[in-house]
């Protein structure tokens, strides 16, 4: 066997080992129930903001404390604490990916990814709303000049 083949084998074995270790350290996508079932374990919690519950954030008192309630598709809710600034589109987000762990009765969140009904995805409702707002005061084409934006 040539030297180069030995090196090749060692490096490829190393690569496979690295990828397998990566799979081991990987976390999982969870619901509130499954996240609660493994307290202290880092998970990706898929949920959305519970808009009926208050959002606690006061940048003047403490810019690094955000607390809100997240609810998943099964309807289970959990209190979330995030020690950083409030993502500005939190309220309008339609889905949240919360990265953190459940412990001591709340979900301690390290990172929040907000998924918004972005206009770039051409949300029909949002589009219609803006168009309706634009179009509503338009009685006929003749006096459309009068409309200011």
């Amino acid at each position: 066997m040539k030297k180069i083949h030995i090196v090749l084998l060692v490096l490829i074995a190393g690569t496979i080992a690295v990828l397998l270790t990566f799979l081991k350290t990987a976390s999982t996508y969870d619901t509130v129930d499954t996240a609660m079932a493994k307290p202290g374990k880092f998970v990706h919690l898929m949920a959305r903001l519970d808009k009926t519950q208050p959002i606690e954030y006061d940048a003047l008192k403490n810019p690094n404390y955000l607390s809100f309630t997240a609810v998943d598709t099964t309807g289970r809710a959990v209190k979330v604490v995030y020690h950083s600034a409030k993502p500005d589109n939190l309220e309008i987000s339609e889905r949240l990916v919360l990265k953190g762990k459940y412990q001591d009765g709340f979900f301690d969140c390290k990172d929040i990814q907000t998924k918004c009904p972005s206009k770039y995805k051409e949300d029909m409702k949002a589009t219609d709303k803006t168009l309706q707002n634009n179009a509503a005061p338009l009685p006929a084409a003749t006096n459309s000049e009068a409309i200011k934006y």
Partner: protein, 815 residues
């Protein structure tokens, strides 16, 4: 039905040219194929002529499509969906190109455009390789043309057409106001255009000058990876294995330089306009462009090995195939929407997944099959390389580069893995560290090999020669590395001593690379810069590595905020990174004091600039940073912040806004609570307490102001905040000409408003107290210090320059 105010001609022309380009590229592919297959010279020449004409027509069509689409955007023809979706009337001219490639269609066009340019150059220069090479490129052009065709074939939509009208795009279907009788089932109103006054505009985060030039450069890089790939195919086709390497090498070098610069321009954009606090986040979109580059570099090195020693030709084939293959795979990853969960900035899904997958497979599967079938025929050298030869270590370096690319793309492909196997595996807790912890060792190996390998000769190196040459740079590097490690204060301890040790090792090795390669220009090349392209680019690459290591490991959070955390900080407790600044009030931040001095608005857009004055406590520095943010921009509720940074030769101070009071939600709803107080009494509020001091009545008041029965009372108050601050306020109550006047006093930092409402003869008073957030303007920000970031940017420039020098030399050699 005729609609009022529509301009239909540009769209019709656009459709025509799309169809023309589709047909012309197909004809070009077929004709080049016939030309390459033909054994008869006159026949081959005939087909080649036809192919050339078709390719030129195709190039013209692409240019025409490009110009028409730009015309539509430039003239704000919002009846076209693309213009409506990506631009607006307030968009500056310089960003019109940026919005052109915000959408998938525009970026496919850009890619196609570069293929045209490269193809026209190849027609002029590639001589006997023209027919087979251009067959591949013309076919790629055909594939790209299908991406923007937007043609329905048996209910299956092929591609997404940039000339679709707004009214055909489905966007208006659910807007009753635009339909006759306010009913969506009725036809559209003929005058609907009258209410489409403006477009959606370019995503504010893309309104940055880097977004004007980064995509064209990056796509030129992507597009150019097809050229070496096409030469590989041509070699396999014509069974002229190895011969193709000569004309392919300059193209591979060109591609490496352009793609590398394109990627790093993206990093610059991220650094200057995104707010994840850095230039690289191992985001799938970034990885997807890095991986082809890594493989391309590996391929260039194995090609050089072949050129000088005859080894490694087989693997060179594989690497060039894979480097283009991974460009296609990246295209699939970033455009199919499969990254949805894991990437912040992938394209949105246009429902073209199968088409994208087909684009990938139609090139990679035949190429790999052909390669495997011809594997035995590709010449190789049976004799083993010497352990003291340059090619042996160059090969190991290439292999490490390649495997590091495989590791990166493997981790990035997690969503694909989940899709294929129905698993629900998410990235690990610290996704960035998962990459860094491996790539730091790759950096060590690569840096070491880059430093040493040039001092070895091809075939075999006499030990004496090697040690004599390398002794000086090694000694210098050891001294330099020791100095940097001793005085550099590199103590990144978040991930334990093992990782810190690896960083130290990598820093030392990259210093070795820098010094050894500079030295080699004189020791090995006798100062001939024209021949030293390799050493120059390796020197630059050493700077890149060092810049990455230093800027990341010595990155400091300046806006550390221990407010709200019980002191002392626990070992694993991160200090919180956001700091709130109240307008006009100076706050303390590490070695700086910060003042939020005010804000100014962009004349046309909802873009605000926040003026933050930084003053160092030793009085040596003072500067103003103006991070900005789009606030509630065009239906995007919330803020989109852009950072601002102050550049020094050895570090950057970098800050951006993380939170702002929402002006709409800031209505002052609180009301005054009235309390009776006597001098000496104290009163609590949410954040502390206040004590009433003296209450005085002023005499000898000017009659012309106060009238005959006027009075003026002053009550002095001391406010003790929980934070330890003490404020003094003198509240006044005047009775002038029968009217009672009392101006509220505001203590901004405490969100407190006080109003003296009544003063009794016994000096007891009634004090109104209001606590409200609406009284204050504030910003919440993060600030970082990035040391030695310039080393990285300069390193990139030098690396690219070195590669271009090599390219020029190889072009001269190939002619």
């Amino acid at each position: 039905m005729d609609y009022i105010g529509e301009h239909l001609l540009p769209g019709q022309l656009g459709h025509f040219f799309i169809v023309l380009s589709l047909v012309a590229s197909l004809v070009a592919s077929f004709s080049y194929f016939r030309s390459a297959q033909s054994k008869i010279d006159t026949d081959a020449a005939y087909w080649k002529k036809l192919a050339r004409v078709s390719f030129i027509i195709e190039s013209f069509s692409v240019l025409a499509i490009f110009s028409i689409l730009f015309y539509i955007i430039y003239n704000h023809l919002f009846e076209y969906h693309y213009a409506w979706k990506h631009s607006s009337r307030s968009l500056e001219f310089k960003y019109m190109l940026a919005c052109f490639w915000e959408g998938q269609e525009g970026s496919f066009l850009l890619w196609s455009f570069w293929h045209c340019v490269l193809g026209l150059i190849l027609i002029r220069t590639s001589r006997k390789w023209e027919a087979p090479v251009m067959t591949v490129i013309s076919f790629a052009q055909f594939c790209l043309a299908t991406m923007i065709a937007g043609i329905y074939i048996f209910n299956w939509k092929m591609g997404s057409n940039p000339f679709v009208l707004l009214r055909d795009a489905g966007v208006l279907d659910s807007a009753p106001a635009l339909h006759l009788d306010m009913d969506v089932n009725q036809a559209l109103r003929p005058d609907y255009m009258a209410s489409i006054k403006d477009g959606n505009d370019l995503n504010p985060l893309l309104q940055n000058y880097w977004m004007v030039i980064h995509p064209p450069v990056l796509f030129m890089g992507f597009a150019s990876t097809i050229v070496p790939f096409a030469f590989v195919i041509a070699g396999l086709w014509k069974k002229q294995f190895g011969e193709w390497t000569k004309p392919a090498l300059p193209w591979a070098l060109f591609s490496a330089a352009i793609l590398g610069v394109g990627i790093m321009m993206g990093a610059m954009w991220a650094y200057e306009s995104l707010t994840f606090g850095g230039y690289w986040a191992w985001d799938p979109v970034e990885n997807a462009s890095l991986v082809p580059w890594l493989i391309l570099i590996a391929a260039i090195h194995t090609l050089l090995i072949y050129k000088h020693s005859g080894h490694s030709l087989r693997v060179t084939h594989l690497f060039f195939i894979l480097s283009f293959g991974f460009v296609l795979y990246s295209t699939f990853l970033t455009r199919s929407g499969i990254l949805g969960e894991s990437s912040v900035h992938a394209f949105t899904d246009l429902g073209m997944n199968w088409q994208l997958l087909a684009f990938l497979l139609v090139f990679v599967v035949p190429a790999l099959t052909w390669f495997i079938k011809s594997y035995k025929e590709i010449p190789t050298i049976k004799k083993e390389e010497s352990g003291a030869s340059r090619e042996f270590w160059m090969f190991i370096g290439s292999l490490v580069f390649f495997l590091s690319a495989i590791v990166i793309i493997g981790k990035t492909s997690l969503p694909v893995f989940n899709k294929l196997f129905g698993t629900k595996i998410a990235p690990p807790e610290d996704a960035e560290f998962a990459y860094n912890s491996i790539q730091v060792y790759v950096a060590v190996i690569i840096a070491l090999l880059t430093a040493v390998t040039q001092y070895l000769k091809y075939k075999d190196t006499p030990a004496k020669y090697f040690w004599k040459k390398i002794a000086l740079p090694t000694v210098l590097a050891v001294i330099a590395a020791t100095l940097v490690l001793v005085f550099g204060d590199i103590n990144y301890n978040k991930k334990g001593p093992g990782f810190l040790g690896a960083i130290w090792l990598a820093v030392a090795c990259s210093i070795y690379t820098i010094i050894a390669n500079i030295a080699y220009i004189w020791l090995g090349m006798k100062g001939k810069l024209k021949l030293s392209g390799g050493s120059i680019s390796h020197f630059g690459f050493g700077m890149v590595l060092l810049g990455i290591l230093l800027s990341s490991s010595k990155k400091e959070v300046l806006s550390n905020n221990i407010n709200g955390i019980p002191a002392p900080l626990g070992a694993n407790e991160d200090p919180r990174e956001n700091l709130t600044l109240v307008k006009g009030l100076t706050s303390d931040m590490g070695k700086y004091t910060l003042t939020y001095e005010g804000d100014s608005a962009h004349p046309k857009k909802a873009l605000w600039f926040y003026k933050i004055r930084f003053k160092s406590k030793d009085g040596k520095e003072e500067f103003v940073l103006q991070p900005n943010a789009f606030v509630n921009y065009k239906g995007n509720e919330g803020l989109m912040a852009n950072p601002s940074s102050r550049h020094y030769w050895d570090h950057d101070v970098f800050t951006y806004i993380t939170s702002l009071p929402n002006p709409e939600k800031q209505e002052d709803t609180a009301s005054f609570h009235t309390t009776a107080l006597r001098p000496g009494d104290s009163l609590f509020y949410s954040n502390g307490f206040m004590v009433l001091g003296d209450v005085k009545a002023k005499d000898s008041l000017p009659v012309e102001l106060f009238g005959s029965n006027g009075s003026l009372h002053e009550a002095s108050l001391k406010i003790f905040s929980k934070t330890g601050s003490i404020y003094s306020v003198t509240s006044k109550l005047a009775v002038a000409k029968g009217e009672m006047l009392s101006l509220p006093d505001t203590i901004i930092a405490e969100s407190l408003v006080l109003q003296l409402q009544k003063v009794n003869p016994d000096k007891s008073i009634e004090l109104g107290v209001k606590e409200s957030n609406a009284v204050m303007k504030y910003v919440t920000l993060k600030a970082y210090k990035f040391p030695f970031i310039r080393l990285l940017w300069f390193g990139v420039l030098i690396t690219a320059t070195g590669i271009i020098i090599s390219m020029v030399r190889r072009i001269r050699a190939a002619v």
